[in-house]
């Protein structure tokens, strides 16, 4: 599978990354080099092998339903790039 410039732009946008027009050729060729390595997966006969999402065969542990966290909003807001009236602020979002 090979990526063309258009696809590279689409992926970059999905990941919210900028790829300048001047870099696009370079980026596409790097990604295609890497993908050619990954495409070797296609040749492997995995038979009926179960996909392994996790190295350990464990089940999810459940947490007791109790409130254990204190309000740390002050500390959190102090390190935020832009805040106001207790909120995190971003440029106006149009719905």
């Amino acid at each position: 599978m090979s990526l063309d410039n258009k696809k590279v732009k689409e992926i970059a946008y999905l990941a919210r990354l900028n790829v300048q027009d001047s870099e696009i050729e370079q980026t596409a060729s790097e990604l295609n080099n890497i993908l050619s390595l990954m495409d070797k997966l296609g040749d492997i006969d995995t038979g009926d092998s179960e996909p392994m999402a996790h190295p350990l065969k464990m089940s999810q542990r459940l947490r007791e339903d109790k409130v254990s966290e204190e309000d740390m909003s002050k500390e959190f807001q102090e390190i935020a790039p832009k805040t106001g009236k207790g909120h995190f602020l971003v440029p106006t979002v149009i719905e």
């Binding site: 999402a53 254990s68 966290e69 909003s73 440029p91």
Partner: protein, 475 residues
């Protein structure tokens, strides 16, 4: 040309756990912004989710209530998209294997007929925060208190054929989640939210292209939104156009739906199993335990009302359609109230008064104990049913207890036969013509005499005695 409407609903029900689904932050509504969002909810670097046991149990409670298949190993997945109120850039949800699989629920249509609506699945996920657009001119403000609140997303089959059916289904689910105590059902606060997938087709044809309606926060708007969307789609199709598959926002002020382009662009969610969470194993023991703890469900309650209390199917349906109403009614029965009379009062005067004042039954100024007392005064012949209506009004206005009102207003029923007799004697003496006609065979006039006696006694005379004495005197 007849068009058939096809509707499926996705209901987001906030689970009433104390803490969030993946963190120990509180879920309480209405706190100062961001004071209930901990490091996990804010998606700080390095934080990890741990699943809330109660959220799992609540999902199972729902699953068992709709006779659904329970997946013994469900998987949490990440739904990836960027939005400022989604702190991690992904929502933890369930995708391929949800905790609750196929189930169904019966709804009662206006015709009185039952219809079974399929439930495709119900899965656990975390709620997002809130974007506030009207706090600043140049900024959108983000409050992440809601982020991480547990949600059960209940997805129906596209089984509804009208807005009314969709509302009946939504109400049924709304009642159920409150019955089984997993959601407070508060639609204003967003605890119970409906998205509707709406499409139209010519009868007998395959499914049409659907639009997903969002932002519906009442049953009234659900009905309106679907109806207006159906009209829009039919107009497009009849003009030879085609419906676009998209998300549309319902605007209740303009009563219209409009396209939400912002949500549409590039919605490739790239779901994959969340590597921070492991498969949720559900044991048979846990299922059994939850089944045992399950309260009486609305359908079971309805049947019991019919079978053991002798109510009609209609009355039983109305009384069980809301958990609080059923509880109010049952409290009266437990105190020994007559079932039929109680049903009539709850569904009649009480319900009318609540509607008029736009109150929920929990906020009723007349408690179930008080209404029980009122009914007792009817059955013990202290007052008549008609006088009871007046007492009810005074009680509603807070003029005192049942007995105080009866006492103060002198509404106690007249049961002294000699007193009733003397009123009847006066009535007979004052209406010689009618007496003659009655004696000539116009038996319908008995009602006239009863009316006159009741009027003269200011409604207090015991109607039974009045009838009896009148009959004796006039014969």
């Amino acid at each position: 040309m007849t068009w058939e409407t096809v509707i499926g609903l996705e209901i987001h029900s906030q689970l009433r756990t104390k803490s969030k689904i993946f963190s120990g932050a509180s879920t309480a509504f209405g706190s100062e912004p961001n004071t209930q969002a901990c490091a996990v909810d804010l998606g700080f670097p390095g934080v990890l989710p741990v699943l809330n046991e109660e959220a799992v149990k609540m999902a199972l409670r729902f699953g068992l209530s709709v006779n659904a298949d329970i997946n013994k190993n469900s998987i949490f997945a990440r739904k990836n998209y960027f939005y400022p109120d989604l702190p991690k850039g992904y929502q933890i949800s369930q995708f391929e294997i949800p905790i609750v699989g196929n189930g169904s629920i019966d709804i009662t249509l206006d015709s009185g007929e039952n219809k079974t609506v399929g439930i495709t699945r119900a899965h656990l996920e975390e709620d997002a925060g809130k974007s506030i657009h009207d706090l600043y001119d140049d900024f959108t403000a983000i409050d992440l208190n809601r982020a991480g609140t547990p949600l059960l997303e209940i997805v129906s089959e596209p089984d509804m054929r009208s807005a009314k059916e969709a509302v009946a289904y939504a109400k049924k689910i709304h009642a159920l989640v409150q019955y089984i105590d997993i959601c407070d059902g508060n639609m204003q606060e967003g605890s119970f939210r409906c998205d509707a997938n709406v499409s139209v087709r010519k009868q007998g044809e395959g499914l049409g292209t659907r639009a997903e309606l969002k932002n519906i926060n009442s049953f009234k708007f659900l009905e309106k939104a679907i109806n207006i969307e159906v009209e829009r789609q039919i107009d497009i199709l009849e003009e030879g156009g085609s419906v676009v598959q998209e998300t549309r926002l319902y605007d209740s002020i303009k009563n219209e739906t409009r396209s939400m382009r912002s949500k549409e662009e590039a919605n490739d969610y790239r779901y994959f199993p969340d590597p921070d969470l492991l498969p949720v194993a559900i044991s048979d023991e846990l299922l059994l335990e939850i089944k045992k703890e399950l309260p009486e469900l609305p359908t079971e309650k309805k049947l019991r009302f019919v079978d053991t209390l002798g109510l009609s199917h209609y009355d039983a349906e109305v009384l069980t359609s809301q958990k609080e109403v059923a509880e109010y009614f049952e409290k009266m029965i437990h105190q020994g109230a007559d079932a039929k009379l109680s049903a009539n009062w709850v569904m009649g005067d009480l319900s009318a008064a609540l509607n008029k004042s736009q109150l929920e039954i929990l906020d009723s100024p007349i408690s179930s104990e008080e209404l029980f007392q009122l009914i007792s005064r009817i059955t013990d012949n202290t007052i008549s049913g008609k006088i009871a209506k007046d007492v009810f009004k005074l009680m509603w206005e807070g003029k005192g207890s049942v007995d105080e009102i009866i006492e103060k207003q002198g509404l106690k029923q007249m049961t002294d036969s000699s007193a009733i007799e003397s009123i009847i004697d006066d009535v007979i003496a004052n209406n010689p013509d009618q007496v003659q006609q009655f004696k000539d065979g116009n038996s319908k006039l008995l009602g006239f005499f009863v009316g006159q006696v009741m009027k003269a006694s200011q409604g207090k005379a015991n109607p039974k005695q009045v009838n009896q004495i009148l009959n004796e005197k006039l014969s």
